[in-house]
């Protein structure tokens, strides 16, 4: 049986998750030119927020269809609060400081968030099971979709559409575009840039939280380290699509997801590379893709923005 459609579907699903998280990187970067290293951790605390709602707030045995929206809400609230707090107390005081300062702060923040969850969340020292949607896998034209992935299949396009509407049509969204193009001029035109920056962080956190819940449903477990590698991948996706471009983030995510899935599936068939095909090499291939993109098309697939804009 030809398993290419299956691999493509898997890649698409994985890529949608990367894309959801990549949006946060790309929006913050587009507006304040800061790589928010702690964004992977925002994704992680989102997943833990959802789990908290399920374990400690909802009564046992609540149907997943009732619980899911509430879990999503919990995830969004936790992620947004953490992101806004990080912006307010860690990044904003350093605006105008040398470039290195916010990067180091972001690393510290990422480490602190990870360790705080590890140390203080009950039993988070090992992997925690995440509630699952019941029901068997679905089969569509030769490809199987796991139930856990259905959330992703629905949530990713909806949130993408919402984001496009928000950025293109609403007043705040246009304020964001203006701030991204030229913060000083936008300020002169009456845009409250401080507020716009907070909104960018918050919106990024919303999508990271959705991604966090999706990841929990997809893999059935979460842990405090889940944000690290995923954050790296999502950043790769953002660069791949053209950092600063929100459509690019989603497309970059999908391309990365598909490339990664195809690499793990087919690279072992290439003579001489037969030992590099297993799942454990997937991260390595994603990283090599990042290096290649930076080498040959640093502005990304869609990026009009020059990558080394000062």
């Amino acid at each position: 049986m030809n398993e290419l459609p299956q691999q493509l579907v898997n890649g698409l699903l994985l890529g949608s998750m990367y894309g959801l998280v990549a949006i946060g990187y790309t929006m913050v970067y587009g507006i304040v030119q800061l790589i928010n290293f702690a964004h992977g951790e925002i994704f992680m605390v989102g997943a833990f927020g959802a789990l908290t709602v399920h374990l400690y707030i909802l009564p046992d045995g609540t149907s997943i269809w009732v619980a899911l929206p509430l879990m999503l809400l919990g995830a969004v609230i936790v992620s947004v609060l953490v992101a806004i707090g990080a912006e307010r107390f860690a990044y904003r005081p350093l605006r105008g400081a040398p470039r290195l300062a916010p990067l180091i702060t972001a690393i510290g923040l990422s480490l602190a968030l990870q360790q705080a969850v590890w140390a203080f969340y009950p039993e988070a020292k090992s992997k925690l099971p995440f509630p699952q949607i019941e029901g068997g896998p679905f089969s569509i034209g030769g490809a199987t979709i796991q139930t856990g992935d259905i959330f992703l299949l629905v949530a990713a396009p909806i949130s993408m559409g919402f984001l496009a509407y928000f950025v293109m049509r609403t007043r705040t969204g246009r304020g964001m575009q203006a701030t991204a193009q030229d913060p000083d001029t936008a300020k002169l035109m009456g845009v409250n840039t401080d507020r716009i920056i907070v909104i960018a962080f918050a919106l990024g956190a919303v999508f990271a939280a959705i991604g966090g819940v999706a990841s929990g449903l997809k893999y059935g477990q979460i842990d405090f380290k889940m944000g690290f590698i995923l954050g790296l991948k999502a950043f790769t996706a953002a660069v791949l699509g053209g950092i600063g471009n929100i459509y690019g983030a989603m497309i970059g995510g999908v391309v990365l997801g598909v490339a990664e899935t195809l690499a793990t599936a087919y690279i072992a068939d290439i003579p001489g590379l037969d030992k590099f095909g297993s799942q454990s090499w997937a991260d390595v291939w994603a990283f090599i893709l990042l290096i290649l993109v930076l080498l040959f098309r640093p502005q990304g697939l869609l990026g009009e923005r020059v990558a080394d804009r000062a």
Binding site: I104, T105, A112, A119, F276, W281, L294
Partner: protein, 608 residues
């Protein structure tokens, strides 16, 4: 300098009627209390503080101090000296070139904190105040009196900012809090030190020797602290003593003198470091010494990349790993698939070149772009290195690194017939295995320091600094940005690889889990970065001190355990927020981080 205090009193008097100190005691009584309290604190360390030797350090003896008492004794003696100097006692004037009051306040505060920490630790550990002997009460009272007296000393109060009439309650509160904070800071501020008198060079060199000897003593004491309480007390005392010396202007003087004789200072520092194994009776602390040295050397290498060139390398430990793996693979270890045994010089070259190759491979595509990309790519590389080393075990990848088991039983080095694995007797001292490696590592450190200093002062080094400050402007001045950055990155990678070759032999085994982005044991990338940032970016002494602290703190304070990394993450955030220039600031760096605050004073200094 007593003149400063008398000058300050009338200046502050019109704004503050009651008192010019933080506490409403007349200044002359305050000074007397501070002096008397300090002397009494010194005396009390010769008394017994508790009745049982259950509290570590055995503080039960009359006649000679032990454990934490020694620290209180040192703090009290320092406070006494500064107090006497503040009275203008002849012969002590050299102690306080920047005025004695700030130094006295810090010294007294340090003594107070150490003493009260000890008393509280005794009470908690043994369960109640009843466990204190009279000496304990005496020291508590004496240090409290001294502190109250010191806080009553006059200082120049800052003028409060005018209040905005429209301010809301919250803004008013913030305004007042800000003023209180400024007042508290002013209470501990010192004047600018008077210039150093020109001394004959031999005297200056003697001073350098004394400073280095003091540093060696402090370091050896710190590394040899045997229990948590003593190490915390050591950190408190050392921190406040440094602040006091800084407040007295002695640190500024010492750095001026060392700046005049940099070569002698650097050589002296290495000799002092080389003396360290001779102060140890067994290999136990030499082990710590060699690990600190590895960590510090790698941090110094990272400082070339981060501190001089301003490139944030978040996977630096991977280059250490590349060097270590390369050396391990050619070391003749049974788990190496190559089965070759290179002599040490060849292994060093292999390790350094392997790191160089990876450095260029990672750097070349990313350094053309903005610095942010480098940060994330190196972060990725650090992780990929670990994953790849884990996978190349022959089953899930090619057989190269023996997977998660790592390359084990790496044989000891033998250089020119000198076997580093066995103890040797030198001049009556037994130099054990780790002490041997300590000397070898010191050699590597010397190489890194040499590279750092020579390149930092060269055309390339100035280009690095220019690139760090403003890449666009530097390129407009004709600096080839990409090439210069790639050199910095490659040099940094090579030096890490160099250190890695020794590390592989010291630890016997290299495993992927030694080279994490963040782990509980140094060196890992997060700790390395923290060491550089904490110590001071762009300086030589900074990362060395930062690395020593960051190694000793988790090693000595076992109770921190689970919260170490959390604390380091938060510490990084707070450091960047409040003291981005680190413990030992590089002058240019300090200016850069505090543009508004510092620029005028420095301008006036350069103008003068």
């Amino acid at each position: 300098m007593t003149t400063q205090t008398t000058a300050a009193t009338p200046a502050a008097a019109p704004t503050e009627n009651a008192s010019t100190g933080l506490i409403g005691i007349p200044p002359h009584i305050g000074r007397a209390l501070a002096t008397g309290g300090s002397i009494l604190a010194v005396v009390s360390t010769f008394l017994a503080w508790t009745w049982t030797d259950e509290f570590p350090g055995d503080l039960t003896f009359y006649g000679y101090p032990g454990g934490l008492q020694v620290l209180v004794l040192v703090g009290g003696a320092l406070a006494t000296l500064f107090a006497l100097a503040s009275y203008g006692v002849k012969g002590l004037g050299w102690l306080t070139p920047a005025g004695a009051d700030a130094a006295l306040k810090y010294a007294v505060l340090g003594t107070f904190v150490t003493a009260w920490y000890t008393i509280l630790a005794i009470s908690f550990k043994l369960g109640g105040l009843v466990n204190l002997e009279p000496g304990g009460y005496v020291v508590a009272a004496a240090t409290l009196i001294a502190l109250l007296g010191a806080l009553a000393l006059p200082f120049e109060r800052p003028e409060p900012d005018p209040i905005d009439p429209d301010a809301t309650g919250w803004e008013l509160f913030r305004h007042q809090a800000g003023h209180r904070w400024a007042t508290a800071r002013a209470a501990f501020a010192s004047g600018s030190p008077r210039p150093v008198r020109a001394l004959p060079s031999y005297a200056e060199i003697l001073i350098i020797v004394a400073v280095l000897a003091l540093a060696l003593v402090v370091f050896t004491y710190g590394i040899g602290t045997e229990y948590d309480e003593l190490f915390i007390g050591f950190l408190i005392t050392a921190g406040f003593a440094f602040a006091a010396l800084n407040g007295a202007g002695l640190v500024a003087h010492a750095s001026q003198i060392t700046a005049r004789h940099t070569n002698i200072t650097v050589c002296g520092a290495f000799i002092a470091a080389a003396c360290f194994p001779f102060t140890q009776t067994d290999d136990q602390y030499a082990t710590l010494g060699v690990y600190i040295l590895i960590f510090a050397t790698v941090a110094l290498g990272l400082n070339i990349v981060v501190g001089l060139a301003g490139l944030l390398d978040l996977g630096y430990v991977a280059f250490l790993g590349v060097g270590a793996y390369a050396a391990a693979l050619v070391s003749g270890s049974p788990s190496s698939p190559f089965g070759v045994h290179f002599p040490f010089w060849a292994a060093v070259i292999v390790g350094a070149v392997a790191s160089l190759v990876f450095g260029v491979l990672i750097g070349a595509p990313t350094l053309r772009l903005r610095g942010d990309y480098l940060a994330i790519v190196t972060l990725g590389f650090g992780e990929i290195f670990r994953i790849a080393a884990n996978n190349t075990d022959g089953t899930s990848g090619p057989d190269l690194t023996n997977g998660s088991n790592g390359i084990a039983s790496i044989p000891d080095l033998s250089i020119l017939g000198f076997d580093l694995g066995v103890p040797h007797d030198i001049a009556g001292f037994t130099i054990g295995r780790f002490a041997n490696y300590f000397f070898l590592m010191l050699l590597i450190t010397a190489v890194v320091v040499l590279v750092f200093r020579r390149s930092g002062d060269s055309r390339i080094g100035r280009a690095w600094v220019a690139i760090r400050e403003d890449e666009t402007a530097a390129e407009a001045m004709g600096i080839h940005g990409f090439r210069v950055k790639l050199i910095a990155f490659a040099v940094g990678a090579t030096l890490a690889g160099l250190a890695g070759t020794v590390q592989a032999h010291v630890t016997y085994t290299v495993t992927p889990e030694q080279y994490l982005f963040a782990g509980t044991t140094p060196p890992n990338s997060a700790f390395l970065l923290a060491a550089v940032v904490l110590g001071g970016m762009g300086t030589i002494a900074g990362p060395l001190i930062g690395a020593a602290l960051l190694f000793l703190i988790p090693n000595k304070l076992q109770f921190l355990g689970d919260y170490q990394l959390l604390a380091f993450g938060l510490a990084l955030v707070l450091l960047m927020r409040f003291r981005p220039e680190g413990l030992i600031p590089n002058r240019r760096r300090q200016l850069e981080f505090h543009e508004e605050a510092e620029a005028p004073t420095v301008l006036s200094k350069t103008g003068a």
